[in-house]
Symmetry: C2
Subunit: 343 residues, 2 copies
């Protein structure tokens, strides 16, 4: 038996929707989650792809997440829209606030979306890329559970605090990055522990703040930010902007989605959108074309652009579909059955 | 003879103004440059302090910089103001556009200043801190001459591209950072070359893209960004936002201020300002207070906040003045004389 299964994008989408609605998500949430999960699978971001559905269903069964909350979209100021997810998934709140964000960015040149009270489990790049598709420049950030020590410290205080950016490019995929401000994802350290392998120095410190290469000691201590004190300063900025500035939680306060401490955290997310057309008027095309010189300069050195592998995967997946482990397919297939285990 | 000279802040300000006006800067530019240079000296940022006046005067004598340009302040959109420095120093353009930026941030929640065609030599933190004094959250970025290779590359393409952020704190100095996205300043490598010392691995690559610890080889090759591919991605973002987005130059295009290739570069700068009061209304105070928990968490670990040393220096300087090398004082004192050398 083949140990992988290949699905068309339509089949992947149907599978995701069926799993989610079978377990109680309403059509609107199932649609928004599916669009994010299938986009990640299409781009071969496996950890944010179809695999993530298992965690969604699990979190829902632990209680605390609303599977059918209608996000409340509030006009705060000419340049600010707020989306209160009301304990639902962040993705539907983003989708429903997105038109107002785009409209405000076009009118004002720059605008901001404060997304609150959200169950958050997705990558940020699908959101910033969806704004780049409208010709906007976009920036997003969110806190997460506190696993990371500030530079010079030894205890978890900061979230892994990802930041994502997307810049529209004429005729090709946008320039996009999306990375955690921790050196690596926490899962990387767990993988090393399971494999009985040492982690590289610089990933984490022990409980005394001393560098460690032992993954178990690292998991008891704290992860480090990328780039030393500079990455630490950026991580704190992300906490502030996607936390108190929008009236939401800090990384060390993010609550598990439910009373038993399982499941994904609730917190906020901040998005900025800037419209180059508003800034540049009729010179827009010339300056956007001009930015291409920078990308060409990177590629001419044999260096890669961030997200380049992901965009190459997207081209492939559109032609030949997505391939996932057979065990994952079987688990998801069970989850979509009317009387399968887990319902 | 004592090899240092201590000046009150008033004396430092008078010295700076006299040097600048003696060499042709008008009162408005001399005032704006002086405020930045004296603030840096007060905070013991020596490289951006009074020492920087020598470079200002030198650049002016090489021609190309306007010592008396009146910045043009243009209302681009409800959320965007443009300041065309018209080949003058960036500092006066910032000061003159600042009220409009603040006003737009208060009205819209978020606003942006596009500063163009500027002779740029100053740190960014005085500008973001001046916005934090108004209760605003501020972010600034600017490109600079291309000395830095993108991650995976080997040739200079990116500027050292600093980014600065400031967050207002009740009753104390703001949370502020301001750092180059290169691992270190180029001057650090030059200091190592002069001292005949190796540089640490990770600062630079040779012309083939191989790591080097030889400062001369590094200066012929390219500097690296902090934090590997993540810092490189951020550096490219800064180029895009403070370059093509505002209709200005990329790092590898920044022109020397004058025909003979000497002097400081001309380019753009981007500033964002966000008003927490607009976002949070009557909850503002509670959430700003809440952010203090994060700073307390950092300090409780024995870690430092960025700019902490600078703010401590500020307290000292306000009491006892600023101390500079006697040789620097003598050079500046000569530069302010009616018939001194250099006029």
């Amino acid at each position: 038996m083949d140990d992988t299964v290949t699905l068309t994008l339509d089949e992947a989408e149907a599978l995701s929707r069926e799993v989610l609605t079978r377990h109680g998500f309403d059509e609107a949430h199932a649609g928004a989650i599916t669009r994010s999960v299938v986009a990640a699978q299409r781009d071969e971001c496996h950890s944010h792809g179809l695999y993530r559905l298992i965690g969604c269903v699990d979190t829902l069964h632990h209680g605390g997440v609303s599977p059918d909350a209608t996000p409340e979209i509030i006009d705060i100021a000419p340049g600010v829209v707020r989306a209160d997810a009301r304990q639902g998934c962040s993705l539907l709140a983003f989708e429903q606030a997105r038109p107002a964000l785009i409209d405000k960015a076009r009118t004002n040149g720059i605008a901001m979306l404060a997304l609150n009270n959200a169950f958050h489990f997705s990558a940020l790049w699908p959101e910033v890329e969806s704004l780049a598709e409208e010709g906007l420049v976009a920036l997003a950030m969110t806190p997460s559970h506190a696993f990371v020590a500030p530079a010079g410290g030894q205890a978890p205080l900061l979230g892994t605090n990802p930041i994502a950016f997307s810049w529209p490019r004429p005729g090709t995929f946008p320039y996009t990055f999306d990375f955690a401000t921790s050196v690596v994802a926490r899962g990387e350290i767990e993988l090393h522990r399971r494999a009985g392998e040492a982690i590289p120095e610089g990933w984490a410190v022990d409980r005394q703040g001393e560098p460690t290469t032992d993954p178990a000691t690292a998991l008891e201590g704290a992860m480090l930010t990328f780039g030393g004190y500079k990455g630490s300063a950026l991580s704190i900025m992300i906490e502030l902007l996607a936390g108190p500035l929008i009236g939401d939680l800090l990384g060390h306060e993010t609550q598990p989605a439910n009373a038993d401490g399982q499941g994904k955290p609730f917190h906020g997310e901040l998005l900025l959108a800037i419209d180059p057309a508003t800034l540049l008027g009729t010179d827009r095309e010339r300056h956007m074309q001009h930015a291409e010189a920078l990308f060409e300069g990177v590629l001419a050195q044999g260096a890669r652009l961030p997200s380049q592998r992901r965009h190459e995967a997207r081209r492939r997946s559109r032609e030949i579909g997505v391939t996932i482990p057979a065990t994952l397919y079987q688990e998801l297939d069970r989850l979509r059955q009317p009387k399968g285990p887990g319902t």
